[in-house]
Symmetry: C3
């Protein structure tokens, strides 16, 4: 199914350049500085469950498409909130439904990733369909029990150099601890993602603040105690290898309140009576506080704004968060980030990586901002846009203003561990596609393109994430 020239430009001359470039980087190690795999997999090193539970249930890219075409969440085996512990899915049935609907993925990156996994990891090279569903299921299920498909073996097979998870400040990080204490020499790093304790609209916010206090021995009902609790937790993450924080706010708004104003606002959010405007202002102020702490402790800061979470009310009520119904919205970085940038935009020791779900901002806001402020870098195309067309648009929209060196390489951003090599392969091929076009049009020289291919694949990510 996989053609060696896939994702390269069709023009034969340009394709030949892309092939040469790709050959020089295809075997480089994978650095995955931002994703959603689970440290527990690597701590325990148990076999992954069956194909449906491994590949379909956790991947909202897949089930949102099936759902959009009338396959119900129940048919897909998605666990309803409050389902009894005895709830079990019929994995083979779910797998068959998926296989029958495989044509829905034509033209999507999901299709490219899955074909890669099927062929490269499992040796399955006939396109999956209703007819081959059971064969696929059996082959994959059997392989998943073999030692070379255990999480640690796959980490090594994937040639991973570093793999970052995303973790709540309330997480004990026991699995990260366990990995470090084992004699397995891998680099699996936590990332500090404090949404649950900095966003007053987050379910359980007040309880979470209390837990943060318990964990850190700080009185987090006071503003200084709360900040100290966060500081200490960041230190805890750092001591287990974290090099970065990540922030999933609805907007890119930041604020610069006085300590007195912050203190008052914090009290209001804790009272449980805060207005949406106060909650937004608090989130905005907390981005600024996080930036201040980053300058102190050296953690790289990432901002992923602009997702309208849980847009489908009924699906949210029945199936909870992260059920494939998060929708991008318009985002304003220019006004939103100004308070933070006024304070820290020129700090040489600060690295602040911006992502977007609003592609109209790439050329209008993000590339101009990153092409000026020393602290800013552009994250790769994210979520719906880590796709061939999305990646090409990113390069075409951002490079001319921000250059290549204000970008940070690729993030796979995935909870689908098996898709990591596939996703990095797509990113590498598309970068070579873009570079080849620049060479063919004599906009850069071929020797530069070879250097750039190395930089885009490993050097920029190592540097930006301090790995």
């Amino acid at each position: 199914m996989l053609h060696p020239d896939r994702l390269f430009p069709a023009d034969p001359g340009t394709r030949a350049i892309a092939r040469r470039l790709y050959a020089s980087i295809s075997d480089l190690p994978i650095i995955s500085p931002h994703g959603h795999t689970e440290a527990a997999w690597f701590a325990k090193n148990d076999p992954f469950p069956d194909p449906a539970q491994l590949l379909i249930l956790p991947d909202h890219y897949i089930y949102r498409m099936l759902y959009s075409q009338g396959v119900s969440m129940h048919e897909l085996g998605i666990r309803q909130t409050g389902a009894p512990d005895s709830y079990k899915i019929d994995s083979r049935k779910v797998w068959r439904i998926f296989a029958e609907h495989y044509h829905l993925f034509s033209g999507t990156p999901t299709r490219i990733w899955l074909d890669y996994e099927f062929e490269i990891l499992f040796g399955l090279d006939q396109r999956i369909s209703a007819a081959t569903a059971d064969h696929y299921f059996d082959v994959i299920a059997e392989k998943l029990q073999q030692p070379e498909f255990l999480p640690r073996a796959l980490y090594e097979r994937f040639h991973l150099e570093a793999l970052s998870t995303t973790d709540s400040p309330l997480d004990s990080l026991e699995h990260h601890q366990a990995i470090r204490e084992s004699n397995w020499k891998a680099r699996i790093l936590p990332t500090f993602r404090p949404d649950s304790v900095v966003d007053p609209a987050f379910q359980g916010f007040r309880e979470n603040i209390g837990k943060l206090g318990d964990q850190t021995g700080e009185d987090t009902s006071t503003w200084p105690g709360y900040l100290n609790g966060l500081r200490k937790t960041r230190q805890r993450f750092k001591s287990l290898g974290a090099t970065a924080t990540d922030h999933g706010h609805p907007t890119a708004n930041t604020a610069n309140l006085s300590p007195q104003e912050s203190e008052k606002l914090f009290a209001a959010t804790l009272s449980g009576n805060s207005s949406p405007e106060q909650q937004e202002l608090f989130r905005a102020q907390m981005l600024t506080e996080m930036a201040r702490m980053s300058i102190d402790d050296g953690l790289v800061m990432q901002l992923h704004p602009g997702s309208f979470r849980n847009h489908n009310q009924k699906v949210f009520e029945q199936f909870g968060r992260d059920s494939g119904a998060d929708i991008p919205t318009r985002t304003d970085y220019v006004h939103g980030l100004k308070p933070l940038l006024d304070l820290f935009g020129n700090e040489p020791s600060f690295t602040f990586i911006l992502f977007t779900l609003d592609e109209s901002t790439f050329s209008r806001e993000l590339a101009p901002l990153a092409g000026h402020y020393p602290c800013l870098r552009l994250g790769p195309p994210w979520w719906f846009f880590d796709s061939p067309e999305g990646m090409l648009r990113f390069r075409e929209l951002a490079t001319e203003t921000a250059g290549f060196y204000n970008t940070v390489g690729f993030n796979d951003d995935t909870r689908a561990f098996l898709s990591i090599p596939a996703r990095h392969d797509v990113a590498r091929r598309i970068d070579c596609n873009y570079l080849a076009r620049l060479v063919a049009e004599h906009r850069i020289d071929e020797d530069e393109a070879f250097d750039l291919a190395q930089d885009l694949t490993i050097n920029l990510v190592r540097k930006a994430y301090r790995l």
Copy 2:
């Protein structure tokens, strides 16, 4: 003038694939589920008038361009509001002006459509110019009198399988009735377009509500009577073959008011003293009511938002609506549609087709929404964007997130009946162009591309519009 490879990619390998794909679909019937032709043409089957009245006066794509370059509306023969019945245009003079300015259309889809009409329908294969203006006029004028250029003959020659018009609820649909009662076996279907009775800002809104009452025997001065009047009218449309409704709102806002609130708001709009905010809220609520009725009666719902109508005040005052001065505006679907989607977004029997004039929403809002909600489908690129570049952008921006199967084929959306084959030909060629690129880059296999070409041309439209 027409090259057999027009609109195919230049790369020879990719072009060869496009050619093969196009050969497999070029002869398929045309399904036109959304447009603005007139049922009267087919009911009466009179010859079309002269070239200028047929091709130029009703086509605001053409005369807006001429107007933008200094040709006055008077020179173009556009009828001024309140002109005496005796008003007559000098068609040959208008035609000559058009011919002299034909270079203005270089690079526009209008040029591609017209060349197709001139060459394929009228056998004129020298580019039109001042020198050939009269020859063109004479040839076309003469042919229009021949039996094979009568409306019904053209319908058959165009290989139309279905042709939908767009009609006011106040329309008697007598011509649709007449067509059905004739023994001509064509499928010409009305579409329920209620803007004039659901938009309080529509000229004559209150009178229209009264007429709706007269027509349906309901007391439309009450909220329940008004809703009943709409329900009955939808039934009347359905009985004459309608399968869809269409809604031309300025925004994508929807609402979910209680019956009491709706009743009060309706009374306010009828009072003639409603504020712009109340009018917007009423339109928003009416989209939700229309969705509710669609679930009951099975009519597919289409939303065409985002046009600032009659932007040019002086042109509007002198020449009325639809004079080429409607301008797209920014549109927010994510927040706007939420109230309606909260109610009906997961209804399996509901089909809701979204269009846009704001291309930045394709990847940011529309593809993510349609790639999740079971009721949603993406309409094709509309109005200014049903062009080669516009169609390519649509596929590039939407496919990776929504796939092909959340789209609904092509709409020609035209009042220029003779341009229908030309417009569908452009759409087919561009789809083959896009599919050929995916094949050449090994993103899909060629066998899939053949299936997709069929689906995009006939299967998706039949299914989405229940034809």
Copy 3:
């Protein structure tokens, strides 16, 4: 370093067409109707200073990129506000820093322009680097002392037909005067740019109004006297050859106030107590006043909206305006321009050229507006977007709706005089690239493409700017 086929499409057939088109226009004169060179250079005809002061310090495209990657403004020799008169930069050191960081410009237009200047103007054809920095510096420094590198000699060598500067109404235009009084037959024209006297937020606004009164003998503390002062100054510019005005507002808002309202608002702005909203309304009204004056005196009006000026507070405080920290913002033309267009949109004698920093408006707002209103024309892609990809996007997004003939050719918009031929060369190559694609895809014929290439290069600019 420069390949003869640079910026042409890679496909050999399309490239051959692009080559033929380019050969037909590459030697045409350069018309530069909008830029920021200084009349004093040509009045005095002194040698340009050293390479760093000529090429780096005045070019915020260059130093913003270096700054974004951690090179400090001090290292770059940027003059701090209030620096003593004795402040001197170490030009060779600045040049070396620039050369060491040259890889940062890979993939940016700056790189393309500089390579052109180095090779074509200075005969340097090894890529600049740390190793060649001194050689470059010495060669350029030496050449700049030669007679053929004096400003007037370069004007002639560049084959300039007209070159417009941008000037404050408070400028004496003495250098323009001097050029006209010399016996040098060149066409260097001022442009009326009144931001400093129509924008109440402009530093020194009230003082500037006073100076305008002194200069014109009008009592500019009254609304009629102020308008008269502006009218007279426009006349003064016109008498020195100006054919255009330019307006750099933060938004595209216009207004249509009564004289009484305007008078009151003017008084408020002069009081020094005006609110931001009043200031915005005043700017909006002044665009309408400028349009009214344009209809009277025939000056072409240009609007460059949407830049958030001096976004970096610390850099602004230390280094002043125009320090590379202006960031584009979202712009609304459809609502913003309506008051002005309601008044003057249909005036045949009025030419109003619109630019944007928000590319999402090209297809959504600007092309539909320019494709209808007789007064409107689309300026070329501006600032961050006068780049290969930016220019291609402009053609792809605007042409299908506005055609080619509602555009006005290229603006180099530069203060880097030596980059003018390079910038026009890029524009010509990209236009040929785009036209070649249209020909290769049989969307236009090749004979038309040759005509269009001429029009895009010289005819449209001459006509739009009345040159």
